[in-house]
């Protein structure tokens, strides 16, 4: 009996935002991220028979997405990237400087903090997955997508007072989850 089973009916609601956040931090283009996430779900569906159930659904989908992202960069590099590198380092004066330019600057903490931000973003989405679906949707719309209170109330047919109760529950649960999964590490 496999540990995990696939339930494609829940994929979009459960993992679309997580996979999108994973992708957008790596490709920095919303349209490309949308496409890659879509391709991931479609590929997942096609290769569902290969799922052994050893990893969780999300881990399995992320592994497919990683390959999609790599393929995306391969496509870009096969046309544009190589030409640019050759042009940059064929000039007489700058020849030989390329190695120095590529040595990591020990005072540059951008790379590390960027990596940490990516992981934190995923940790937040991981915690959001644990919330009831409606609560998570409302929290995302209000906090991440910056929708007006009125617009959300109309969308979900709830009062402003209800919205704040939902937001309060979501924030409390999220803070507790992040305490457990992020800050205690």
């Amino acid at each position: 009996m496999p540990k995990h089973q696939l339930d494609p009916n829940k994929w979009i609601d459960s993992y679309a935002d997580y996979l999108f956040n994973y992708t957008i931090t790596r490709v920095s283009d919303r349209d490309i991220a949308d496409d890659l996430v879509q391709e991931t779900f479609f590929s997942g569906l096609k290769s569902a028979a290969n799922f052994k159930g050893e990893a969780s659904e999300r881990t399995w989908l992320v592994s497919i997405l990683k390959r999609k992202i790599i393929d995306h960069y391969r496509k870009i590099n096969s046309t544009k990237g190589k030409a640019e590198v050759r042009i940059n380092y064929s000039e007489g004066e700058s020849e030989g400087d390329w190695l120095e330019e590529r040595v990591a600057d020990p005072y540059d903490r951008n790379a590390e903090s960027t990596l940490e931000n990516k992981e934190l973003g995923l940790a937040i989405h991981h915690c959001l997955e644990k919330l009831p679906q409606k609560q998570a949707e409302i929290f995302k719309m209000k906090t991440i997508q910056n929708f007006d209170t009125e617009a959300i109330c109309n969308e979900f047919d709830i009062s402003a007072s209800n919205l704040w109760v939902i937001i309060h529950r979501a924030r409390t649960a999220l803070a507790g989850c992040l305490d457990e999964t992020w800050f205690k590490q």
Partner: protein, 87 residues
């Protein structure tokens, strides 16, 4: 949750409610004033405010992103069509 408009002193639950609204800049100055007043003497409120502000900072400053609703709806309908083919 409704906060009494005329009372200067609010309870902990009201303070949390105002604090949540403040994270989205949707509290009034009068609400913030009463929250700040309670903040001075209530350790539970202080802890909640601190934790809540930290959460806002994490979610907004770290650029947590999610798919736009329209894109997600489009994806959902395409995926459902594809799913029917496989069932």
């Amino acid at each position: 949750m409704k906060v009494g408009k005329n009372t200067l002193f609010i309870n902990c639950d009201e303070a949390k409610y105002i604090c949540d609204k403040s994270q989205y800049n949707e509290s009034t100055w009068w609400e913030r004033f009463r929250l700040n007043l309670r903040y001075i003497y209530c350790t539970i409120t202080r802890a909640y405010v601190k934790r809540n502000e930290k959460l806002s900072e994490l979610v907004t400053d770290q650029k947590v992103d999610c798919m736009e609703n329209k894109s997600k709806a489009d994806l959902k309908s395409k995926f459902e069509q594809e799913l029917k083919k496989h069932q």
